[in-house]
């Protein structure tokens, strides 16, 4: 167990990093010419007003995100085993193999369904 002071250090570090980032943003915003006009403020579209609402996108990004959540949960379950594998012996290993195989079946199903073949 690390003493709580090490975790306070994370907050200190976070504060320092945020401060430097904010300072850069403020300096960048204050300095420099400020002459916005309509053409400049348009999104990149070769001078045309972009057509239509853009905040919709292909569903496969959603699928990738779902798969990531699932398999990251798998990894989250594997970490505790990885740390204490020696003490858990062969039965612990069998348990982890069982769990991994279960998710492997899901993985193979996704694979053969073609979810992971983006065209």
């Amino acid at each position: 167990m690390a003493p709580i002071a090490e975790y306070v250090n994370i907050l200190i570090y976070l504060g320092v990093a945020l401060f430097i980032g904010l300072a850069a943003l403020v300096v960048g915003a204050l300095l420099g010419p400020k002459k916005p006009d309509r053409a400049k403020l348009m999104p990149y579209e070769s001078g045309n007003d972009p057509a239509g609402e853009v905040r919709r996108f292909p569903v496969h990004f959603y699928v990738v995100a779902m798969l990531f959540i699932l398999f990251d949960v798998e990894i989250a379950f594997l970490w505790p085993y990885a740390v204490s594998a020696g003490g858990l012996g062969f039965y612990g290993f069998l348990g982890v193999v069982g769990f991994t195989l279960l998710l492997l079946v899901g993985f193979l199903y996704e694979w053969w369904k073609g979810v992971m073949r983006w065209r």
């Binding site: 167990m1 690390a2 003493p3 002071a5 090490e6 306070v8 250090n9 994370i10 200190i12 570090y13 976070l14 504060g15 320092v16 990093a17 430097i20 980032g21 904010l22 850069a24 943003l25 300096v27 960048g28 915003a29 300095l31 420099g32 400020k34 403020l41 348009m42 999104p43 990149y44 972009p50 853009v54 905040r55 996108f57 990004f61 990738v64 995100a65 798969l67 990531f68 398999f71 990251d72 990894i75 594997l78 970490w79 085993y81 990885a82 740390v83 204490s84 594998a85 020696g86 858990l88 012996g89 062969f90 612990g92 290993f93 982890v96 193999v97 492997l104 993985f107 992971m116 983006w118």
Partner: protein, 365 residues
């Protein structure tokens, strides 16, 4: 288990955090110069050499230019998120580096050569790494432009696909060391030999995934100039654009420090063990390798990128994890893993040397 490492006072932690942040920003600036010079060497030309001796003032000139450029917030942007996104990206990029040890306790003028020393060090690194994806996604969303949105979606999908491989690859070394603390991992390697010898496949998979996490060639689609007009930072200018570049390069520098820490003995060395020195040497070598890869390799297509991550990297890492788990669970001699690693290395080398030459389709020179 008691805590064998000394803890620094808070003011010292703050000072070191500031030092690390400023050092990373300087390193980023000069790495861009070194990268341009090295790429030039690879292409038999000179690279920037006009601003200052050997172009040394080029990064400073670039910084001044980007600060004094007009800082635009495009009309369709979500004003709050548009400003918040670069801040998030750079903050969480900076955070990871503090957890890396550069020497034994007390080797920083009597204090510790790290900012953070957590017992869940690796999990912290993953958490911070995945937080950085928020910045990228928000950037594309907040821009209100379809190029930015698509660029950010592709970038974030690629990033978390490969962060999965990153996690799976690291399970094997954790099995051997039995701790998530980075100091423990380095000290284990001092006693038992570098982890790359025990876990060569994990090292390879981790390095590839780390390269993709830093969005570097061959995995740098999110920022391919020829595609999607430059990805999620299409609408950014001035310092905000620079902050994204900074975040990305800091990810690369962090990767070049993490790979030695986890697999190449970190700051330890079998001979002439000097804190800082070897770590910096190893980092420099890896950065050189990354730039070399950038100079000589083609880019993957987006679907190839994801298919490689899901179809090869992740399963291969899990298989190696299970092999290592078997050795550790049955308490077989660890030297078994040395042989297994060597076999995997030779297999890969053989496959590379004896693979059939690709057939060139449709003529060409």
């Amino acid at each position: 288990m008691s805590w064998p490492y000394p803890v620094d006072p808070y003011w010292m932690a703050a000072l070191k955090a500031l030092l690390v942040v400023v050092a990373l920003l300087t390193a980023f600036a000069f790495m861009t110069l070194i990268e341009r010079r090295l790429l030039a060497r690879f292409q038999i030309r000179l690279g920037p050499n006009r601003v200052g001796p050997w172009g040394l003032f080029q990064p400073i000139a670039d910084a001044i230019k980007s600060i004094f450029k007009e800082d635009l917030v495009v009309a369709r942007a979500d004003r709050v998120l548009f400003v918040l996104a670069p801040l998030l990206a750079v903050t969480f990029a900076l955070l990871a580096f503090g957890a890396i040890p550069f020497g034994p306790p007390g080797s920083f003028f009597g204090y510790n050569p790290w900012v953070l020393n957590l017992d869940l060090g690796l999990l912290y690194l993953f958490a911070v790494g995945e937080m950085a994806i928020y910045g990228i996604f928000l950037a594309g969303w907040a821009s209100g432009s379809k190029y930015s949105l698509l660029g950010s979606l592709r970038a974030s999908a690629a990033l978390f696909s490969y962060s999965l491989g990153l996690g799976a690859a690291l399970l094997a070394p954790v099995l051997l060391v039995g701790s998530l603390n980075l100091n423990e991992i380095v000290l284990w390697q001092r006693e038992n030999g570098w982890l790359i010898l025990y876990a060569f496949p994990a090292f390879l998979l981790y390095s590839i995934a780390a390269l993709a996490e830093a969005a570097r060639t061959p995995f740098d689609l999110p920022e391919a100039e020829q595609e999607l007009v430059g990805g999620y930072h299409t609408e950014y200018s001035s310092i905000k654009w620079a902050l994204f570049q900074m975040a990305e390069y800091i990810h690369l520098i962090t990767a070049s420090a993490l790979i030695p820490t986890l697999f190449l003995g970190g700051w330890t060395m079998p001979f002439l063990e000097v804190p800082y020195l070897w770590m910096l040497v190893k980092m420099a070598l890896l950065l050189f390798l990354f730039i070399w890869i950038r100079a000589t390799w083609f880019r993957l297509r987006y679907d190839q990128l994801l298919r490689f991550g899901w179809g090869f990297l992740f399963p291969a890492a899990l298989v190696w994890f299970l092999a290592t788990a078997l050795v550790v669970a049955l308490d077989l001699p660890r030297s078994l893993l040395l042989y297994l690693s060597l076999a995997a290395f030779l297999l890969l080398l053989g496959a590379l040397l004896y693979s059939p030459k690709p057939v060139r389709k449709g003529g060409g020179a």
